[in-house]
C-alpha cells in the first residue's frame, strides 16, 4: 500500500515509520528537511500548503496525518485545523479511500468530561473547550467528519494523551515518577506507532462505520478512560503496559532502565 504521511518527522512520526516502513511504500513529508538516515521517499512540505498536499496525495492509498502544532495561535489553526481541510481535499481529489487522523484525547474528551467522569470512551460527542491545542484539533476533526460523511472516505482518528519512553517510562518533557500518580492514559512510543499501522491495515469489513475514533493506550487499571474499542476493532496489542508507574509491587531497577515494561 502506498501511504502518504503528513508531519512524519515529529515526535510520533519515527515510531510510525518504524512500525510500517517494511510493510508499506511510504512517502514521508514534514516542514523540515529530510532527516538523516531516512530510507523512504521524502518531501519537504508544510501541511498548511493546500496545493502541495493535494499534489503529494496523487496515487496514494492512504493518508496519515501526524502533523501538530500546539502553542502558537496562528500556526495552531494553520496546522491543526486547515491541515485537515487540506488533507481531506487531497483525499477527495484523488479518491484516496482512507485517511488516518491523529490528535490529543481532549479534542474529544475535554475538561467537561475528564474532570467529572470515568469510563470515558471515544464514541462520545466532542467537547474540546477552548484550550488552543484541543480546540484547533477538534475543528480539524470536524472537517474530517464532514468530508468523510459527504464523500464516503473512511476516516479513522487515533487519539493519544501521554507518551512514555520504554527505557525509563519518562515522558518527552518529564522524568519518570515511579509508584506515584500517573496520567491514566499513557502509552509507550513504539505502541503509538503500531496503533497507526493497525488503523492503516484494518479491513474495511471490521469497521462499524466509515468514521471511527479510537483511544490509544494499554490496559491499565484506573478505568478513567476506556480502551476497549481499539483492541476489539483494530486488533491492536500493545507491548508495553507502563506497570511500574501504577503498581507499587513492581521494582524500580537500580539502573533506572525498565526495558520491556
Amino acid at each position: 500500500m502506498k501511504v502518504l504521511i503528513l508531519g512524519g518527522n515529529g515526535m510520533l512520526g519515527p515510531w510510525v515509520i518504524k512500525a510500517m516502513g517494511e510493510r508499506h511504500d511510504l512517502l514521508v513529508t514534514d516542514i523540515n528537511e529530510k532527516p538523516e538516515g531516512l530510507a523512504h521517499d521524502y518531501l519537504q512540505l508544510s501541511v498548511d500548503d493546500l496545493d502541495g498536499v493535494v499534489r503529494a496525495a496523487e496515487g496514494v492509498d492512504c493518508i496519515v496525518n501526524l502533523s501538530v502544532l500546539r502553542p502558537h495561535r496562528q500556526i495552531a489553526f494553520d496546522v491543526n485545523t486547515r491541515g485537515n481541510y487540506n488533507m481531506m481535499v487531497a483525499a477527495r481529489t484523488h479518491n484516496v479511500p482512507r485517511v488516518i487522523n491523529t490528535g490529543p484525547h481532549y479534542q474529544l474528551a475535554g475538561p467537561q468530561y475528564e474532570e467529572w467522569d470515568h469510563d470515558l470512551n471515544p464514541d462520545m460527542p466532542p467537547a474540546p473547550g477552548t484550550r488552543l491545542y484541543a480546540h484547533t484539533k477538534a475543528l480539524g476533526q470536524e472537517i474530517v467528519r464532514v468530508f468523510a460523511e459527504r464523500h464516503g472516505i473512511t476516516a479513522l482518528t487515533l487519539l493519544y494523551y501521554n507518551m512514555k519512553h520504554t527505557w525509563n517510562l519518562g515522558g518527552p518533557e518529564q522524568e519518570p515518577d515511579y509508584h506515584d500518580d500517573m496520567t491514566p492514559y499513557s502509552t509507550a512510543w513504539p505502541d503509538c506507532g503500531t496503533a497507526i499501522q493497525c488503523a492503516v491495515e484494518v479491513p474495511e469489513e471490521r469497521l462499524p462505520s466509515k468514521i471511527e475514533t479510537f483511544f490509544v493506550f494499554p490496559d491499565i487499571p484506573h478505568r478513567k478512560f476506556n480502551n476497549d474499542k481499539i483492541m476489539r476493532i483494530l486488533g491492536w496489542r500493545p507491548r508495553y503496559h507502563v506497570e511500574a508507574l501504577w503498581n507499587k509491587a513492581m521494582r524500580t531497577p537500580p539502573s533506572g532502565r525498565h526495558g520491556a515494561f
Binding site: L50, Q74, T81, G110, E142
Partner: protein, 221 residues
C-alpha cells in the same frame, strides 16, 4: 449597550447597526477586511463592549475565493475575537449563521434546532460558517461568554415580511424579521449559556419550525 458587529459592512449589517442605533445602542463596525489577530489590537478593539455580533455567513462585501482564507476567518479570527471578548468581560455573543446548513433535509421534514446540521464541502463559506458555530459554542461551553447562534432563513430579502412572502421562497427571511431576531437575541433574559435559534419569516409553506424563537425571543413563528 455597546455592541461590536463583526463583518457587518454589507446591507444587513448596516441596517442592523442603524436599527440598534435607533434604540439607543452604540455600535462598532468591524469590516470584513479587518484582520483579527491574537495581539493587543484585538483586545483594544473589543474592550468596553457589552456584546458581540458575528455575521458568520452571507458576507456581502467579500469576493474571497481562497478556501484557506475563508476557513481562517471563521476559525482563528473568530477564536481571537471571542478570546479577547471573554478576557474583556463581554457578556454575550450573537453568532448569525444560516439555515442553509439544513438545506439537504427534505422540505417536508420538521427540522428544528434539535436536528444535526449538514454542512457541505463544496460551499466553503458555509462550511466555514459551521466551523465558526463550533468555535463560539466552545467558548460558551467553557462558560467564558454566553452564545446565541441565530440561524437565518434563506434568501434574506430586503424589506418586511410581505417582501419575504412575495419571494415565494419557503425558507425566506425578511431583513426586518432577521434584525428583530438578532436584537432580541442580544437582550433576551431567557437564553441559556448556549442556544441555537432558527429564524425565518412566516411565509406560505414555511419550511422551518421556530419553537425556540417563540419560546425564547417571543417571536411569532
Amino acid at each position: 449597550m455597546k455592541i461590536l458587529i463583526r463583518d457587518g459592512d454589507w446591507w444587513l449589517g448596516e441596517q442592523l447597526a442603524a436599527s440598534l442605533g435607533d434604540d439607543g445602542h452604540v455600535t462598532t463596525m468591524v469590516p470584513y477586511s479587518a484582520e483579527l489577530g491574537h495581539y493587543e489590537a484585538t483586545d483594544e478593539l473589543v474592550a468596553g463592549h457589552d456584546a458581540v455580533v458575528i455575521l458568520g455567513y452571507n458576507n456581502g462585501p467579500s469576493d474571497e475565493s481562497d478556501p484557506s482564507k475563508i476557513i481562517d476567518r471563521s476559525t482563528r479570527q473568530h477564536y481571537n475575537l471571542l478570546h479577547a471578548a471573554s478576557e474583556a468581560g463581554v457578556q454575550r455573543c450573537v453568532y448569525v449563521s444560516s439555515l442553509q446548513l439544513f438545506d439537504d433535509y427534505e422540505e417536508n421534514l420538521t427540522v428544528t434546532e434539535k436536528w444535526r446540521s449538514l454542512p457541505p464541502t463544496d460551499d466553503v463559506p458555509l462550511l466555514a460558517c459551521h466551523l465558526g458555530e463550533i468555535v463560539a459554542k466552545e467558548f460558551a461551553r467553557d462558560r467564558l461568554i454566553q452564545v446565541a447562534t441565530v440561524r437565518l432563513g434563506f434568501p434574506i430579502i430586503q424589506g418586511d415580511r410581505a417582501a419575504a412572502e412575495a419571494s415565494s421562497e419557503t425558507a425566506a427571511v425578511s431583513a426586518d424579521d432577521a434584525i428583530a431576531a438578532i436584537k432580541e437575541a442580544l437582550t433576551s433574559d431567557s437564553l441559556a449559556q448556549w442556544q441555537d435559534i432558527h429564524i425565518q419569516s412566516r411565509v406560505a409553506n414555511q419550511r422551518y419550525l421556530m419553537h425556540a424563537a417563540q419560546d425564547l425571543l417571543g417571536i411569532e413563528g
